[in-house]
Symmetry: C2
Subunit: 212 residues, 2 copies
């Protein structure tokens, strides 16, 4: 469950990986369905090309069954006992524990800039569809984390400028810090554009609730 420390954002840091985006995406698809159930093949299609999620995370059909078995072991999904559809389906239901775990994961921003490309986008996808207010909160918390990363990288860069002329190792270290700064600043600027859009979704869903 723990991930490789290879190429970590921060120096070989602590924290358990927020990840398992594939598994949580499966939970999310079940949460999205009306009755909280689905079956392997149907879920697998949502990760193919031409599906919105397929642009962010690609999962081979075989892996879907693999992940579902793991989710069953974790108690986050359950095989529906009675119902077996006409073409030999095996319906899977999101368990209560699974729903709690999914909501926990969904509300949590990612700790590293590199996780924005995959983990954060998957979270955002479900947050926008399930509850725009969760999406707004998620984007705001992610913005704060990006700002903190930027501060920390800026400090480290300033701290490195003690000697002159700088050693090759120092110059390379600066390049690395500047690369990360550039990536994180780009992510922050993008989040600043995304936020208002999610907010708009909140207002429209609120007015829909008002008229209802």
């Amino acid at each position: 469950m723990r991930r490789a420390p290879a190429g970590d954002e921060e120096a070989g840091s602590e924290q358990f990986h927020s990840g398992m985006p594939a598994e949580h995406a499966l939970l999310g698809l079940l949460a999205l369905s009306n009755d909280g159930t689905g079956h392997g093949y149907e879920l697998a299609r949502q990760f193919g090309p031409d599906a919105p999620l397929g642009n962010v995370i690609r999962i081979e059909p075989g892996m879907v069954y693999h992940h579902l078995k793991k989710l069953e072991r974790l108690g986050w999904v359950e095989s529906v006992p009675g119902a077996a559809g006409r073409p030999a389906r095996r319906p899977i239901a999101l368990s209560e524990a699974g729903r709690i775990e999914f909501n926990r994961w969904l509300a949590e921003p990612v700790a590293h800039t590199r996780e924005i490309r995959l983990d954060f986008l998957v979270k955002l996808y479900f947050a926008l569809l399930l509850d725009p207010r969760v999406a707004v909160r998620l984007v705001n918390e992610q913005r704060e984390i990006c700002q903190r990363i930027i501060e920390s990288l800026s400090e480290r860069r300033k701290a490195g400028h003690g000697d002159d002329p700088p050693s090759p190792a120092h110059r390379f270290g600066d390049l690395v810090l500047e690369m990360r700064l550039a990536q994180t600043e780009a992510a922050l600027a993008w989040l600043d554009r995304v936020g208002p859009e999610a907010g708009h979704a909140v207002r429209t869903s609120e007015s829909a609730a008002d008229t209802a």
Copy 2:
């Protein structure tokens, strides 16, 4: 040797992974040493914290021996037969095939924006230390690839704007494309700053050669 198609930059594309950055970094460290040899423990230290490479790619000591065995299987390194140092060292030498493979890898820019953080930075580290002209070429070719990625993403974004009002799936697709555009543009801007610095290194090494 092939990598997961999960979260690929382009839609579930083809290409073999340029990667194996850990293994190539080990080859690079051997290439950097005067006699092209080294041993596990010494190599492992270069991936710890406080080492320049440790900021980019972290490798646990145990993994170093793992990778060295794999490199030996591939014929890219060889155990030095005679020499065994005082504290039970097992010296490893870069083979001719290993040097060729390393140079091939070093000259190749990465195909995806997400690989810049790890693979490209490792390449740049060795290119700057081994031959600044290789570094300049690498940066320039990487810039071209980033420009092509930006063009392709821009086209895809324009192509998506056919219907109105846009569906939620479309709006999400746009967010994803804008995220990737922002990341790739940030990488390109960074490369534009890195290029001149590498060029400076070329000029100083040339003038050093002139005076020699």
